[in-house]
Amino acid sequence: MNAWLRRIGGYAIASAALLAGWQLLSMAIGSQALPGPVPALSDFGRLLFSDLLPHAGISAWRVVASMTIGAAVATPLGLAIGRSPRADAVFAPMIFLTYPVPKVVFLPVLLVLLGIGNLPKIALITLIVFFQILVTARDAARGIPASAVLSVRSLGATRWQVFRHVVVPAALPDIFTALRISTGTAIAVLFFSETVAGSEGLGYYIIDAWSRIAYSEMFAGIIGMAMLGVVLYELLELAEARVCRWTRVER
C-alpha cells in the first residue's frame, strides 16, 4: 500500500513539474499553436467521454493486439533460435539483414494490401514489436548459464522440460524489458499510421484537430496519447512484478 502511495505521489509531482514547464514554455512562445495546459486540460475534460475515450479505445486495442501477437510469436521463436546452434546459423543472418530495415516504410504496401482499417496498423506494429522481441529473446537464450541447463538435464529433464523450467523463466525479465521499450516505439508508429489513413484512433483525432486549427483539442488528444503510454507501461510493470517475483526479492 505504501509503495502504491509513493508511486502515485511520484506521478503527481512529475505531472506538476511537466505542467509547470509546459505553462512557462507556452507563455514564452506566445503562439496559438502552443496553448497552455489550462485550455488543453479543460478540453480534455469536456471531450473525454464524447470523443477521446472512443478514439483511445480503438488505439489501445490496436497497440495491445499488436504487442500481444508480436510477443507471442517472437518469444518462442527467438528462444528456440538462441538455444539451437543449427537454427541460429540459418536465422541469425536473416535477422541481422532484416532488423535494421525501418519497418515503417512498409506502411504504403500494407495499406494497399490490407485496406485502411485496423489490419494494416496492427500488422505494421506487430512487425516492429516482433523484431525487437525476437532479437532480445535470442540474446537472452544464448546468455543462459550452462550450469543451470546442465543441472536440470542431470535430473533427467527432456529438451522441452529444460525449455519450460530454465530457458523461458530465465529470459522473461529481458522480454519484459524489451516489451516496455517497445511500447514507446509502438505508440509512435501507431500515431503515424493513424494519421496516414483511416478516421479512428487518437492519431487521427490529433491530426484532425490540427487541420481544424483547434489547438487546445489537439493537445487534449496528445494528453490522451501520453496517458495511453503510461497505462501500458504500468500494466507491463504490474505483469512483470507478478510473473517475475524472484527479481524483486531482497538479499
Binding site: 546442465l150 538435464r153 542431470s154 535430473l155 517475483r245 524472484w246 538479499r251
Partner: protein, 262 residues
Amino acid sequence: MAAVSVRELAVTYSGVGRDVPALLGMNLEVGDGEPIAIIGPSGCGKSTLLLALAGLLPADAGEVLIGGEAVTRPRRRTALILQDFGLLPWKTVAHNAALGLEVRGVEAGARRKVVDEALERLGLAEFAEAYPGELSGGMRQRLALARALALDADLLLMDEPLSALDALTREDLQNLLLGIWQQRGHTAVLVTHSIEEAVFLGRRVVVMSPRPGRVASIVDNPEMGEAGYRETPAFLERCVELRRLLAAEGAFADQALAEGVR
C-alpha cells in the same frame, strides 16, 4: 547398487576451433557406498569426468558403468551438484528441491512430502517459500543437497561444491556432507581443489594428471570419517603426501617456489 567403473574412458571437448582431449585412457573403480575425492591441477578433466559420470557427455571411447549398467544418459538416482549449486533463481526453495521429482513426473502430493522431509533435515523448512536469491551461500549449498536427498540419490557427484563458500561455512558443510554420507551410505565422487577437503571426505583420494586427464595415483585414506580425524597427525601427514603428489603433477606453477615453501 551404485558401484562406478570407468574403463579406458576418452572424452574430447570441442573447444573453439579445435578439439581438446579432456580425458584419455581413464580407469577408475569406485565401490558401492564408497566416498572418493578427486583432486588435480586445473585442466585435468575432473569436471569432464563428472559430466561423463552424470551421463551428460558422450564418451569417444571406453565406457562408464554404474551398478553394472552402461551410462549413456542421466540416470534416475544420480545427483549432480555443481560449483554454483545449479539452483534456479526463479523457483522457490521448495520448488527447487522438488525439481528432480517434478521432472520425473512424481505427482504433487508425494513430492511435497518428500521435499518437506529433505528441507527439514537440512534446516531449510522455514525458508520453503523463499527464493534462492534470499539465501546465504551456505544455505544455497544445503538446498542443492536437499534436492539430491529428495531424489533419494545413491550416487552423489559433486563438482567443487564448497569452493564458493567462506572458510567457516565450508568446514560446517564438510561436516554435514560427512554426516549425511555416514547416515545414508551413498556412493560419492567429490571433485575438489582443496587438499584438506579431499582428505576429510574421501576414503580414497584420486590424483589426476593434466591434459589429457588420467589417474596419476590413488592415496588410501582409511581413517576418513573417524571422530576428530581433522586434528590428528595422520590427517596432516596425508595432506603433505597429497601436496607432494600434486607438485609432481605440476599443480603448482613454479616448482622451485613450491619446494622452497615446503
